[in-house]
Subunit: 121 residues, 2 copies
């Protein structure tokens, strides 16, 4: 049987899913299904947003003009491609900065329970 990985609690994700999606779209234009898949795989199955989370999230980001969409009906499968906007990049930078600050803040609050993230590169 496949090894079952427990997902992160949904409350933990609140406030950072937007950030993940914007980060994915900042690398290249994508459509919902693939964004979802990328995040799931990159997180080792620990962040697997349902469609009921993904699509409303994309609609919300589009409503805020942080991303924009374009339908592609050229193939048999209808796909809605998303691209990040200038405002989206600005928001991404801001939110990422906010996230980093929050992580540092928690590090201080958690004292002994916190284990620093290993250096990248």
């Amino acid at each position: 049987m496949a090894k079952k990985v427990d997902k992160f609690e949904s409350d933990l994700l609140r406030g950072s899913l937007d950030l993940m999606v914007l980060a994915v779209l900042d690398q290249e234009d994508q459509y919902g299904y693939i964004i979802q898949k990328k995040i799931r795989e990159a997180s080792g199955e620990k962040v697997s947003m349902s469609a009921g989370t993904m699509y409303p999230l994309l609609h919300r980001l589009e409503g805020e003009k942080l991303i924009r969409s374009r339908w592609d009906d050229s193939t048999g499968r209808r796909r809605k491609w998303y691209a990040i906007t200038a405002a989206g990049r600005k928001r991404l930078t801001k939110q990422a900065n906010q996230w980093n600050q929050y992580v540092q803040c928690m590090a201080g609050l958690m004292q002994g329970y916190y284990k620093p993230v290993p250096k990248l590169g």
Copy 2:
């Protein structure tokens, strides 16, 4: 005029406020007002839970038997002291571990946007 610090967005806090409170109580018994104050000060005013957040949270944790309470009416001011339970410590360890994993996961997902937390000590 006092320098106004913007607080973290409330969605960012979801899922980690419990953790903060448990961490404070793991150090010593406290009552709500002080727990709130400690977290506010330790975060540089960036996490300032309202009373409408703090007290329901404490009641919830008590309902889950992660903390227990005791009224102190010996002084003029009625204070409800809280202590962490064995189950609470277990939960604290688990949640802290979960948090650390999540931070690492975000580090991977965020790639270039992530800045590692400076070494402690």
